[in-house]
Amino acid sequence: MTSPDIDTRILEVLVTDGRIPIRELAERVGQAETTVRDRLHRMEDEGLIRAYRARVDLEKVGVTTTTWLLASVTEAPRDRAVQALKARSQVLNVHPVASHPQRVLIHVASMEDQNLLDFVEDAERRFGLHIKSILPVARVLRPDDEQDLPELP
């Protein structure tokens, strides 16, 4: 087995069980504990592994729905709007679209006292955010490990 394969195996196990003890992880990938520990620390030091995150069921912490918005930022530099949107407590993630200088995809959480319409109206006022499509999420098949935890009620 060449070395990248061991790293890949380690990551595959971690994706499904991020808190697995090193000893069990080593058993699962069929390597010595020291090998696995060293490789894990190297991947952390190199920044390939940026963090370890608990996947939270948003419905169980007071989020009623989440929605993907396809939108354009018309009255502010997109970079600045993206940063400001990411800082909003309701926003789970924001992706600038590569093919279009104004387009963004925004994943927004709705909670008891923070609804989607208020968010959209505020973003329209502040950045000239123009919504093209609203895609409500009915079920998460695979959670986004990069998304932020909203400010919980």
Partner: protein
Amino acid sequence: MKTDKNRIDAINRRILAHMQENARDTYSAIASSLKLSVNTVRDRVIAMERRGVIQGYGPVLDLEKRGFTTRLMAFLHANPGAPECDESRFVHPYIQAAYLSPSRYRLIVELAGPDLQTLREFITHSIEPCGYHNTQFEILETPVRQEEQVPVTAPALSFTSGRSPEMSEPLTPLP
């Protein structure tokens, strides 16, 4: 009125916030960082796992460092009458996230991979056969980390002919 069933208290909120970055920490490391007792942290984490508040743990990977320099969001139409895709199908290194939507795009999938061609083939061979067609997608810029951001200039494309590649039609008008 909404019940308090889905509210979490301040201590659990702090534990969850800590576990957004350092979920591999031992209970005692979390406890000392949050100035709580080890028993409190252990009991609460286990209780949140049992209640399904915490669904699991995973690493947050730097996709570019992994060689996944192309990212896209795919929007798929469901074949009429096709059964729902099994969740296990969405555990794959290229799949970053997947959602079912009651909009006309039944499935929304965020992908990351080495290049566009690989991801297109992955969608055609591994996702569409599950009951989807006419996939459209937007190529995403790499995550906003200014110091290393490289603009991507590839155009948005559509997989199948006969549709505009632009995702410009509103799916649902604003209320």
